[in-house]
């Protein structure tokens, strides 16, 4: 049946066409040609905007608007009107910033502590994750299990669980101090620390290294995603580069510095930025807790936004410096 109708149609079509050959064929062709060229582009553009519209709406409503509002809040006193609803902003200039930096007993201390901690942690996390990625990129028995274990912190270090660990630090401190009393502080790191810390001028730098060592667990648990990113980078290096270098008589030490490191350097930039941002927003951050407490507990919205902007300003500065310095050094493949 279908076949017969199709043939019928194909037969009838040419019969009809010659009749209206002269007039209408030209006009639609012109129309089609013009509008098609235009419309496919504009059509695609319109569809593109339709597809990304959720993000645009969300971005404007839930990102730009509160962002602008929080800037204006930080310069004013927020008064909630319980009766009518809504809130009023009383502009008070830089008062909130002054309060945060000079009057508030906790904020400035937390702020400086967190920033120095961040500056110590970033290189530590980078070195650790790069080292582990190098290890996990090699072939050995049980690599699959090792990878599973090293990626576990991606889940474990997220959110609440980290917070729970922190809330128990008081107990941990008590127990560690008890242990130290019992053992007389004769752990390996303690002894080494006593050996190296001789009271000379280099002491503070040695102290930083020991702080890093003592925080190795924290560093290991925050570097899950970074390891993945470095692994992706390492695996994207083509094998032939290493082969060629080996044939030319390059030792693996040289190959590391001349091939692996430059090829992974874009990932170092990505990771540095990721680490800073992750450190900034992690939930056991003392400054962040202080900000949330000021907001939810004391209902002082103006002060909390001022604090947040001070902290973000500092972090953005660090981000810009890091991106600038590493970005210059990054080897660009293109």
């Amino acid at each position: 049946m279908e076949n017969s109708t199709k043939t019928n149609a194909s037969i009838t079509m040419p019969e009809k066409q010659p009749k209206k050959k002269e007039k209408p064929v030209k006009a639609p062709r012109e129309k089609l040609g013009k509008s098609d060229k235009m419309s496919l582009k504009t059509k695609k553009a319109i569809y593109g905007y339709i597809f990304i519209s959720p993000m645009i709406i969300g971005f404007l409503l839930f990102f730009v608007r509160p962002l602008i509002e929080s800037v204006s809040m930080s310069f004013s006193n927020v008064v909630l009107q319980t009766g009518k609803g809504g809130f009023i902003l009383e502009p008070i200039g830089l008062q909130n910033y002054k309060t945060a930096l000079q009057i508030d007993p906790e904020f400035f201390r937390f702020f400086t502590e967190e920033i120095t901690q961040m500056l110590i942690d970033i290189p530590a996390v980078m070195i650790f994750s790069f080292f582990v990625a190098l290890l996990l990129n090699q072939k050995f028995i049980g690599r699959g299990i090792a990878r599973t274990i090293f990626f576990l912190p991606i889940i474990l270090s997220a959110g609440v669980f980290l917070e729970m660990d922190v809330s128990n630090t008081l107990l941990q401190e008590i127990s560690t101090s008890l242990e130290e009393m019992e053992t007389g502080g004769s752990s390996v790191t303690k002894t080494l620390e006593n050996l190296f810390l001789t009271g000379g001028p280099a002491d503070q730098y040695v102290q930083i290294v020991f702080d890093m060592l003592n925080r190795i667990y924290d560093i290991a648990i925050t570097s899950g995603i970074q390891i993945v990113i470095f692994l992706v980078g390492l695996q994207s290096i083509s094998e032939s580069l290493h082969e060629a270098a080996k044939i030319e008589g390059c030792s693996s030490w040289e190959a590391f510095w001349k091939i692996t490191l430059p090829m992974v350097s874009p990932m170092i930039l990505v990771n540095a930025i990721y680490t800073i941002v992750a450190f900034f927003i992690r939930s056991d951050n003392a400054v962040m807790t202080k900000i949330t407490d000021t907001m939810m507990g004391e209902l002082n919205y103006g002060l909390s936004s001022a604090m947040a902007w001070i902290y973000f300003g500092a972090v953005a500065l660090i981000l810009a410096i890091v991106a600038g310095v590493i970005g210059k050094w990054v080897y660009n493949n293109d």
Partner: protein, 352 residues
């Protein structure tokens, strides 16, 4: 007959016995002969690689232990009876094995309610997140439109700028929710949405939820990697844009979608920040986890005239147990799917 042959032959098809004869004495002597011929280089090289692999194994095991140790510690702690917690001689293996901690923790956490709540809340939110992210990612990957670079730059800004800095005004925005004064005209005052899940769902649908920029980034990369010919063929065959998207592109990106869904589910499950601000009214695990000590105090002083605090050891055991309970579902999912997880993580090629 055939079985015997199978046993005697190795995978290369050589009889095994002959090879064994070779390995026993001759290979060693052969090795040393070759070693002498190379002037001691072979032995050095072989020893070097052996030492290296041993060192590597030691290092990997050590680092893996570093990560697992707190977890193992918590597991052993959770099975201890209260007696063992004070016993100095009990360090890792509990002497009086008990599941009492689990019973207490599950009553404190109100587990039969919270577990289901957490599951469906996480599910709902990750579906909402994924819905908007796939649409947006597809839009960025396949269409050319004016200001495309600008909007994508906005996505990157969303990734980098943490929500903490404007969360206070966002909170207030939902506290007094209003669109052009419509709601105040109808209800007389702006709506207070903060006691429901609506604000969070709206955030997720708008692509501004927890780590949604990251999912947009990953999915865009995946959609870009799919062959364009598929779409063109569908288009020529008379498939509309949305139909192409739903019928052709989505089934092809299933793996990445599953990866993103898992990430979203896990991050929502463990997230305390958004939960504290937007999900205060729903009984979910993070809420209880945040203040487990208070709930324990309540539990211990239940049925007593005055408040008594739980002992520090019990406190620690209970919080360890409840943490294990909280992690368990996510960890199971992770261990079951880790192969695909790791693989598609690297396939997505998280690149800037």
């Amino acid at each position: 007959m055939i079985k015997k042959k199978h046993k005697a032959v190795d995978h290369r098809g050589n009889p095994i016995k002959d090879i064994q004869k070779d390995t026993l004495g001759q290979t060693i002597t052969k090795f040393f002969q070759r070693n002498e011929a190379s002037g001691g280089y072979l032995l050095k090289k072989r020893m070097g690689s052996w030492i290296y692999s041993i060192l590597r194994i030691v290092l990997v095991i050590g680092l893996a232990f570093l990560i697992l140790q707190p977890l193992l510690n918590k597991i052993s702690l959770s099975f201890m009876a209260e007696k063992d917690l004070y016993d100095i001689t009990v360090i890792t293996v509990p002497r009086n094995f008990s599941v009492e901690n689990y019973k207490i923790a599950s009553t404190i956490l109100n587990l039969d309610v919270t577990m289901w709540n957490t599951i469906w809340v996480s599910f709902l939110i990750s579906v909402a997140q994924l819905l908007s992210c796939t649409l947006v990612a597809y839009g960025f990957a396949r269409f050319k439109f004016p200001f495309q670079k600008f909007w994508f730059f906005c996505v990157i800004i969303v990734i980098v700028v943490p929500p903490q800095i404007f969360v206070s005004s966002l909170y207030l925005q939902f506290r007094f929710f209003d669109i052009f004064g419509i709601f105040s005209a109808i209800f007389g005052s702006p709506l207070n949405l903060n006691n429901s899940m609506i604000p969070y769902i709206m955030l997720c649908l708008g692509g501004m939820g927890l780590k949604q920029g990251l999912y947009i980034f990953i999915l865009r990369q995946i959609f870009k990697g799919l062959p364009k010919e598929l779409e063109e063929a569908a288009y020529i065959d008379g498939c509309g844009t949305f139909k192409t998207f739903a019928r052709i592109m989505l089934p092809n990106a299933t793996n990445a979608l599953i990866l993103c869904f898992l990430l979203a589910f896990v991050f929502t499950w463990t997230d305390g920040f958004y939960a504290r601000i937007f999900l205060g009214s729903v009984d979910i695990l993070p809420k209880y986890m945040n203040s487990i000590t208070d709930y324990l105090t309540e539990y211990v002083s239940m049925g007593q005239a005055f408040k008594t605090k739980a002992s520090p050891a019990l406190n620690e055991a209970i919080s360890a147990t409840s943490m294990l309970i909280g992690i368990a579902p996510v960890a199971i999912v992770y261990f079951v799917l880790q192969r695909g997880f790791v693989k598609s993580m690297s396939q997505s090629g998280i690149k800037m």
